[in-house]
C-alpha cells in the first residue's frame, strides 16, 4: 500500500480567538500535484505553515514523510508568496540559491558558501531556466525572475515535496503560464502542493484540487462545479466554465 507523503488528521488551529482551521483532514499521495484553493483568510497559508512546522496545531495530527513536520522540514522545498527579503540586499542570485542548501547534511549550518554549493545553485538555476541570472544582484530582477529564483532556491536542497504559496500572485499572466509549465515538468519527479486563490487557472494544471475555507469543503478529482464554488466563496463569484484537455 502506498503511504501518503502528507497526512493531516482532524487538525484545528486558531490565532487567539479566531478559529482559522476546523478539523481539517487531507492526504497528499506521492507524485501528486495538489492545488489548495479557497478565499483569502480561508486558512490556506496557515495550513502550509503547519505542514512546514512553523506553527503547531492546537489539536489533531500532521505527518510529513512519516515524520513530524519539524523533522521533515529539511526535506521540503518552500516558495513563499512574497519575497521575504529586502530587495536592496547586497546579494547575487547565485548566493541566494546557494543559501537554500543551508542545513543540508552535506553542507551543514556553519562556514561559507562553498564551491559545491555554487555548482548546485547553478544546476538548480538551469532547471528553472534562469542560469543567465546567476551573477545579477537580486534587486535588479523582475517579479517573474524573482519567482524563478525562489523556485531554484527551493529545488537546490533536492526536496521530496515542493510547497508553493501563491507563487504567481505578483507576476503577469505570461510569466505565470511559464511557471506552471515548469511546475508540470517538475511534477514528474516531485510531489507538489500549491496554494492559489485563482481556482480557474490552476485547475488546468493540477491533478487534484482541495478547497479550504476554515474547513475542507471538497477534496476531489472531478472538475469543479459551480455549486461547489458558491459554497466555497459564498455565492458572490461569477463562474466561467472551462474544460480539461
Amino acid at each position: 500500500m502506498i503511504e501518503p507523503v502528507i497526512q493531516i488528521e482532524s487538525v484545528s488551529f486558531s490565532y487567539g480567538e479566531t478559529l482559522v482551521l476546523d478539523r481539517v483532514d487531507l492526504s497528499v499521495m506521492p507524485g501528486e500535484f495538489l492545488g489548495l484553493v479557497g478565499p483569502n483568510a480561508g486558512g490556506k497559508s496557515t495550513l502550509l505553515k503547519l505542514i512546514l512546522g512553523l506553527l503547531k496545531p492546537q489539536s489533531g495530527h500532521i505527518q510529513v514523510l512519516g515524520q513530524t513536520p519539524q523533522q521533515a522540514a529539511p526535506l521540503l522545498g518552500y516558495v513563499p508568496q512574497f519575497p521575504t527579503f529586502p530587495r536592496d540586499f547586497p546579494i547575487r542570485v547565485e548566493e541566494v540559491v546557494a543559501l537554500g542548501r543551508l542545513g543540508k547534511a552535506a553542507s551543514g549550518l556553519f562556514g561559507w558558501i562553498g564551491r559545491v554549493d555554487r555548482a548546485m545553485a547553478r544546476r538548480a538555476l538551469a532547471e528553472v531556466e534562469a542560469e543567465d541570472l546567476a551573477e545579477r544582484p537580486i534587486g535588479r530582477l523582475s517579479g517573474g525572475q524573482v519567482q524563478r529564483v525562489l523556485l531554484a532556491r527551493a529545488l537546490v536542497s533536492d526536496p521530496k515535496i515542493l510547497i508553493l504559496d501563491e507563487p504567481t500572485a505578483n507576476i503577469d499572466q505570461r510569466a505565470e503560464g511559464e511557471i506552471f509549465d515548469l511546475l508540470a515538468r517538475l511534477n514528474q519527479r516531485l510531489t507538489i502542493l500549491l496554494v492559489s486563490h485563482d481556482i480557474a487557472f490552476i485547475s488546468r494544471y493540477v491533478g487534484r484540487v482541495a478547497c479550504l475555507n476554515r474547513t475542507l469543503l471538497c477534496h476531489e478529482t472531478q472538475p469543479l462545479e459551480s455549486e461547489l464554488i458558491q459554497r466555497l466563496y459564498g455565492g458572490r463569484v461569477r463562474w466561467i466554465g472551462h474544460t480539461h484537455d
Binding site: P80, F85, F89, P90, E95, L102, G103, F110, I113, P137
Partner: protein
C-alpha cells in the same frame, strides 16, 4: 597634513591613536554591514547608550570601566533581543526605555563617584588621544573575537540577515544566531567607544557600511569596503583634527557623514541614469 605626519613620527600617543582608529575600523567594517542590512541601527544605538550604566557602575565600585562597558553592552543586547523576539508590538518604546535607563544608571553612579565628573565628556564623545595601552590590547582581543566568529558563521549570519523565515525552515536556530549577532554588535560598540565615545558610535557603525552598500553586490565586499572606509575616516579625521586642535571623534563622524551624503546622491544619480538608458534602449 605634513605637520600631522611629523607629529605622528615624534609622538607615541598619536601612533597609539592611529592604531586605535584602525583597530576600531576592523570592527565597524565586520559588523556595520550586518547592522545596516538587518536594519538594527536603532537597537545598536540603544546598546551603545545603555553601556554608560555599566561604565558608571564599574567606576563607582572601582573596576575597569571597559569591563563594565562589556558586561553592560552584552546584557543590554540580550535584553533588547528578547524585547524584539517577545514583545515586538512594543519594541521601539521598550528599546528607547532601555536606552535611557542605562544612561540614567550611569549618570547616577558617576555623580556619586568622586573625581570622575570631568571624564563624563570623554565617555560620551570619546578621546582617541588618551587611549591607554590596556585599551589597545582589549581592542585587539575584541577584533579577534569578531573576526573569528564572522569567519566561522558567515553563512548562517548571511542567511539570517537575508531571509530569517527561510533560514528557520532550513533548520537554522535563528533565535540563537540573532542574539549572537546582537552580542557581536555589543562587542563592536565597546570597541568603537574607545575612539568616538558612546554617543557617536552609531554613526561610525552604520555610515561606512551604508556608503559601501551603495556600490556592492555581496555582503563580503560590503565588509571589505566598509573596513577600508572606516580606516580612511578615522585616519583622516585624526589628521585633520590635529592641526587646529579639534576633537577627533566628531571630526571623523562629520567626514563619514559627508562621504555618505555625497555617495548617496551619486548612487541615486547613477540609478536615474540607468533607468533613463533602460527606457531609451528598451
Amino acid at each position: 597634513m605634513t605637520e600631522f605626519l611629523d607629529a605622528l613620527v615624534a609622538h607615541a600617543f598619536l601612533q597609539k591613536a592611529l592604531i586605535a582608529g584602525l583597530l576600531a575600523s576592523i570592527g565597524c567594517g565586520l559588523i556595520g554591514p550586518f547592522v545596516v542590512v538587518k536594519r538594527i541601527a536603532f537597537m545598536a544605538g540603544g546598546i551603545a547608550h545603555a553601556v554608560l550604566g555599566g561604565m558608571g557602575a564599574a567606576l563607582y565600585f572601582g573596576f575597569d570601566p571597559l569591563a563594565g562597558a562589556l558586561v553592560a553592552a552584552l546584557v543590554s543586547a540580550i535584553l533588547m533581543g528578547m524585547v524584539h523576539l517577545v514583545w515586538q508590538a512594543q519594541e521601539d518604546t521598550l528599546i528607547s526605555a532601555l536606552w535611557a535607563v542605562g544612561m540614567a544608571i550611569g549618570i547616577l553612579f558617576i555623580a556619586k563617584t568622586p573625581g570622575y565628573q570631568a571624564d563624563l565628556m570623554s565617555l560620551l564623545f570619546g578621546n582617541i588621544l588618551l587611549v591607554p595601552d590596556r585599551a589597545l590590547v582589549w581592542m585587539i582581543a575584541l577584533d579577534l573575537v569578531l573576526a573569528l566568529t564572522i569567519a566561522a558563521c558567515y553563512r548562517p549570519f548571511l542567511a539570517l540577515a537575508f531571509d530569517a523565515e527561510f533560514a528557520r525552515l532550513r533548520g537554522l536556530p535563528v533565535t540563537v544566531f540573532y542574539l549572537l549577532l546582537l552580542c557581536l554588535v555589543a562587542l563592536t560598540v565597546v570597541l568603537l567607544i574607545q575612539v568616538v565615545g558612546l554617543i557617536l558610535v552609531i554613526a561610525l557603525l552604520t555610515l561606512p557600511a551604508a556608503t559601501a552598500g551603495h556600490y556592492v553586490r555581496s555582503l563580503g565586499t560590503m565588509i571589505l569596503i566598509a573596513t577600508l572606509l572606516g580606516a580612511f575616516f578615522t585616519t583622516l579625521g585624526l589628521a585633520l583634527s590635529f592641526g587646529p586642535d579639534l576633537p577627533a571623534g566628531p571630526t571623523m563622524i562629520l567626514l563619514a557623514a559627508a562621504a555618505y551624503i555625497l555617495s548617496a546622491s551619486l548612487s541615486h544619480g547613477l540609478k536615474q541614469r540607468r533607468a533613463r538608458l533602460q527606457i531609451r534602449d528598451g
